[in-house]
Symmetry: C2
Subunit: 227 residues, 2 copies
Amino acid sequence: MSKDTAAQSKANQATIAYRLLKQDIIKGIHQPGDKLLMSHLKESYDIGAGPMREALSQLVADRLVTAISQRGFRVAEMSLEELTDIYDARAHLEALITELAVERGDDSWEATVLGEAHKLSRVNEVNSPEEMLEVWDSRHKSFHNAIANGCSSVKLLELRMSLLDQAERYRQLWLRQTVFSQSALEGKRQEHSDLVDALLDRDKARAKQLMYEHILSPIPVIRNLLP
Amino acid sequence: MSKDTAAQSKANQATIAYRLLKQDIIKGIHQPGDKLLMSHLKESYDIGAGPMREALSQLVADRLVTAISQRGFRVAEMSLEELTDIYDARAHLEALITELAVERGDDSWEATVLGEAHKLSRVNEVNSPEEMLEVWDSRHKSFHNAIANGCSSVKLLELRMSLLDQAERYRQLWLRQTVFSQSALEGKRQEHSDLVDALLDRDKARAKQLMYEHILSPIPVIRNLLP
DNA sequence: AATTATAAAAATGTAGATATTTTTAAATAA
DNA sequence: TTATTTAAAAATATCTACATTTTTATAATT
């Protein structure tokens, strides 16, 4: 039995519900502002009220869901204000982490970053557009994770993940626009290439600045798509 | 009826359990590594298993508790490695937030910082040592919160709070040593005064550097007290 | 000693009971 | 009529008590 299958089978109902709900909120199956009715959730996920509550209050901590005592749960709203706030925080945090990664990253970090950059630049021979989207997004994330890991700070990486989760619904809006536009994709390719250059040159200030701008760049696109 | 009492009376069992448990873990009533037995918790807090699980899994997200599926919950261990990691992250994040506060803070921010600094410098006419501890800690937190609020980033402030919560058990070790030592207290007074000067001078680089060092300064004290 | 069987303890989940909020409809007042 | 209040009903959230599953401890067996 694979490790993954073992983990899945061991996971309790609350964990299963948490994963499914989170995915469905990110995918937009549950829209911002939607009421998350316990009776519906119980039925559609086939999970009891207890574990479901447990999952929901975790998502409240993740800021993907809001709760009012005795009045249940709703999918958290999306707004231009939140978009700006999340991306401002992400840009500053990611810039900080990049700076630390340049200071602290070793040879093996450099190697991994270079490897992930290469994989990302070679997203070509794919079948469907949907697969393209998935593969590019996955490799793009791996590339950025590889850079960030160089900072060697467990806690900063956890904070980074928390912001990424909160940004994910906004990112989804940007992703389609970017991956399906040859020129946008080429722009990203250039940004990534410049970034890698700065990292390998150990040019702290330049890497920090490039990362800051790279993170903020999707904002105009997302702003236009925001409902 | 006061707002607080109303909030208390409206809060559900899970929220009550979360608050009580968190306090008791920070106070050390539940020690690092302790098993959090559902039957004991149910009895001592007089709260059912469902809400108690909900509270526990929130504390897992807060990193104050660890969970193993089907094997229950334990108070998270404390370690020198975690101390170093948390304080490294805190110092960098707080320095970043301070820098932004100097950039973004307005007149009313300056006024609040100055006011809180004044209150903190006047913790004197108190009755018991225990009260002294409580009052100083409370005002010290308010002072630092006032500075941080200047950054105007909801998300960065949330990340800051998350790290503060994780640092709280370590901070408690340092607090007694500092508040009950006249020389240590004088040292802090000086650091705070320098910090305020840099803030009001809008000296970004200096404020950032002072804050970075201020956050890291408790580490040697805590290291010696760590069990 | 190592392995297996058994019993006890504990975690987790379910179903139904209870409490709260929301909706609906009727009654009252402007 | 229109708006407001009130009371009852329905919908919903939450909790409790119990049932089930899993783990852990103990004893028995090889």
